[in-house]
Symmetry: C2
Subunit: 102 residues, 2 copies
DNA sequence: AGATTGTATGTCATTTCTGACATAGATGCA
DNA sequence: TGCATCTATGTCAGAAATGACATACAATCT
């Protein structure tokens, strides 16, 4: 965003900044959300590489299509625990999980 | 364990093997438990390096001494989520967390 | 247009996790 | 010995996550 646009928005009463600021996240919360997002993306990649639909993966994991969708979207209702268990079930190694987190 | 001892135990009716086998864990469950144990150890290391007691850390995290103890012991009742949130609160970077997981 | 396939989103009963508390080790010190 | 400090373990009410379901959305067909 260039300076001019920012000034225009600010003058018009808008606040500018990061998503984290907008959502009032602390530094730690932001790191947590980002870390979770990385795992979400990794899960989606692995599923697509395996040519599985969300429904097929759900059956494999004894979960549901809607929960898989939420996992891949980084929905607040899904835990890192579930993401990691899912990745492990898909054959992801610790090293690969670590790489995704970095 | 040397061969002789294993034979003795086996002959006496004991089964030998890994903890995972004893607890009837699947391969994925075993990986999950190991990964969690790594984070537990990392948390304990960081706390001790910071010269904090469990009680002090508990106050910092708005948790309780007993939960910190359970975290560091890898108790089944604690989630990876809580471990990661705690590590982040202690200033651990994503890179360091990734390293611990590897 | 309608039909099919795959993904997203809202809701909810049940399950699991969490902080808090009590209390039991464990270690050191007077 | 008793006393203080730190850690471990069991329990439980309240909070959060889970799978399941319905349904909406999107893309691709005939």
């Amino acid at each position: 965003m260039n300076k001019t646009k920012k000034e225009r928005l600010t003058n018009a009463g808008w606040k500018t900044g990061t998503v984290a600021e907008f959502l009032h996240l602390t530094a730690e919360e932001e790191l947590y959300v980002e870390l979770k997002a990385s795992l979400s993306q990794q899960l989606k990649r692995r599923r697509e590489q395996s040519h599985l639909t969300q429904e097929e993966l759900a059956r494999m994991l004894k979960s549901s299509q809607s929960r898989i969708a939420k996992m891949e979207k980084g929905d607040p209702s899904v835990s890192i625990d579930l993401l990691i268990k899912s990745l492990l079930a898909l054959g992801t190694t610790r090293r690969e999980i670590a790489k995704a987190i970095t």
